[in-house]
C-alpha cells in the first residue's frame, strides 16, 4: 500500500497535466479561430454553467435518461436472459444466432426511420432505438460467456454427480458472470449512442433538442457544452461500471 500511493499520486498529476494541455489547445484553437462555429474552451465552459443554472440542461437529461434507462433495463433482463438461453440450448441458438449476428453488423441508424414508421415518435420508438443498438452486444456477450465455459469444469461437475441444474447454477453462470457484466457495460455505451441518435433523428427531445436548438440559432458555445456534457457523462458512467466490474470479478478469480 505504501509503495502504491506515490505512483497513484504521480499518475493523478499526469492526468491533470494532460487535461490542462487538452483544454489549453482547445482554448487556442477557439481563439485562433479554426471556424466561427468552434467556440473556445472558456466560452464553452461558461455556456455549460449558464445552461446548467437556467435548468435547461438538467431538464434535458431527465428526458434523455428515460429511454436510455428503460432500454438498458430491458437489455439487462431480456437480453441477458436470451443470451443465456442461447448458450444453454442448441435449439434457441440455432433459431436466433443468425439474427443477432446480423443485428450486430447492421448500421442501426438506418432502421430508425422504420421504427418511426411503425411506433411513431414517442418514448416507445426511442426505447427501441436504444434496445436495437445495445441488445446485440449484451446478448452475444452472455451467449459467449456461457458457451466458453471450461469443459474440464463441466466434466468435473458431472464426475462428482452434479445434475444439469447444478452444472448451470454452480459452474456455468459464475463462470460467465464477468463476460455478461462486460456485455452490459458495452451495451450501456451503445445505449448512449442509440439515445442520442434517436433524439436527433426521430424528434428533437432532451439532449438532442438542446443540440438542435442551439445549433439552429447559432449559439455554438451552448451547443458544444451540451455535446461535451453527454460525452463526459457517458464516459464517467462506463468507467464507473468498469471499476465495479473489476471489483466484483477480479481477473484472477474469473472463470473466463
Amino acid at each position: 500500500m505504501n509503495r502504491k500511493e506515490p505512483i497513484l499520486k504521480r499518475s493523478l498529476v499526469w492526468q491533470l497535466i494532460s487535461f490542462a494541455l487538452f483544454f489549453g489547445l482547445w482554448e487556442l484553437a477557439g481563439r485562433w479561430p479554426v471556424s466561427l462555429a468552434f467556440p473556445s474552451f472558456s466560452k464553452t465552459f461558461l455556456a455549460l454553467v449558464r445552461i446548467t443554472a437556467d435548468g435547461s440542461l438538467p431538464k434535458a437529461y431527465l428526458v434523455t435518461l428515460q429511454p436510455l434507462l428503460i432500454g438498458i433495463a430491458l437489455c439487462g433482463i431480456a437480453g441477458i436472459g436470451f443470451g443465456i438461453g442461447m448458450g444453454l440450448s442448441r435449439a434457441i441458438e440455432w433459431a436466433s444466432l443468425p439474427l443477432f449476428i446480423i443485428l450486430q453488423a447492421a448500421p442501426m441508424a438506418a432502421i430508425i426511420p422504420l421504427i418511426t414508421y411503425i411506433y411513431g415518435i414517442g418514448l416507445t420508438a426511442k426505447v427501441l432505438a436504444v434496445v436495437f443498438l445495445a441488445a446485440p452486444v449484451v446478448v452475444m456477450n452472455s451467449y459467449k460467456g456461457i458457451r466458453n465455459t471450461n469443459p474440464s469444469l463441466i466434466q468435473m461437475c458431472r464426475s462428482f454427480l452434479g445434475t444439469r441444474r447444478q452444472e448451470v447454477i454452480k459452474i456455468i453462470l459464475p463462470h460467465a458472470g464477468a463476460l455478461i457484466f462486460a456485455g452490459l457495460r458495452l451495451g450501456l455505451a451503445m445505449g448512449f449512442i442509440g439515445v442520442v441518435i434517436a433524439e436527433l433523428l426521430i424528434t428533437p427531445t432532451g439532449i438532442g433538442d438542446l443540440i438542435t436548438y442551439h445549433s439552429s440559432v447559432a449559439d455554438y458555445p451552448e451547443m458544444f457544452a451540451t455535446i461535451v456534457s453527454i460525452i463526459v457523462i457517458a464516459a464517467l458512467a462506463i468507467h464507473g461500471l468498469e471499476r465495479l466490474e473489476q471489483k466484483i470479478f477480479p481477473p484472477e478469480i474469473r472463470g473466463s
Binding site: 469444469l153 466434466q155 452434479g162 445434475t163 459464475p174 484472477e252 472463470g255
Partner: protein, 255 residues
Amino acid sequence: MPADAIVQVRGVGKSYDGGVEALREVNLELPTGRLSTLLGPSGCGKTTLLKIIAGLIAPTGGEVWVKGKKVEGPGPERAFVFQDFALLPWANVLRNVAFGLELRGLAWEERAKIARDYIGRVGLKGFEASYPHQLSGGMRQRVGLARALAVDADILLMDEPFSSVDEQTRRKFQEDLLALLQVERKTVIFVTHSIEEAAYLSDQIVLLSPRPGTVSRIIRPDIERGGTSPDEIRRDKNYLDVVDEIWQILKRYVD
C-alpha cells in the same frame, strides 16, 4: 485375481466421428485395493480409457463393469482427479475440496468438517481460505486430490495428475500419495506417461500400444514397499528391472 476385480473392462472400443479409432478391444481387470497404472505413449487412448471407466465418455463398443454393475455414467463409488486440476477459480480451497459433497446436498457444516479433515491429510492445513490462483501447481493438485478423497469413493481415477508439476514436487507428491493410500485403502487407476512414476507407484502396470490403443502387456512389479523408504525403492533392483523391461517394450512404439 478376477474374483476380486473391482473394475472390469470388457471389449471396450472407442471410435470418433471421422473414423479415428482411439481404443480397440480393450480387456482388463483392475484388482480391489491396488494401484494400477495405464501407461503408454501419447495418443494411445489411456486418458480416453480412464474417462470411459469414469463414465464421462461413452464407449462405442464393449462395456465397463464396476462393483458388479454396468457403467452408464459417473457413480458415487468413483472419484476423478483431473490433469488440469479443474478447480473453481472463484472458490477458496475449502469450498473446492467440499464441492463434491456440496453437489450431493450435504449441509455446509457437515461438508466443511469433512473437507477440513482431508485438507489436513493432503498437507494443506492453513490454506483453507486461499484461492487456487494463490497456490502452486503441486498445491492445486493436492486440492484436487482432497476433493476426490472427500466424497469417500472406493475408486480413485487419476488422469496424469502430476504432469504439470515440477520434478521435485512430483516426487514428494508421489511419496505422499503412497503414504496416504496406506491409510485410505482405495483402488487407484492412474494414467501416466512416465515409466519411473508407473514403476514406483504401481501394483499393476497396463501397457497400452498406440493408435488404436489396446493392451499390449500387463506387468506386476514385485517391489517390497512395506517399511522401505522411498529412496530405497528407487534403488531397488526389481524397480530398476521393471523400468528397463517397460522401456524395452515401449521403445518399439517410439519413432
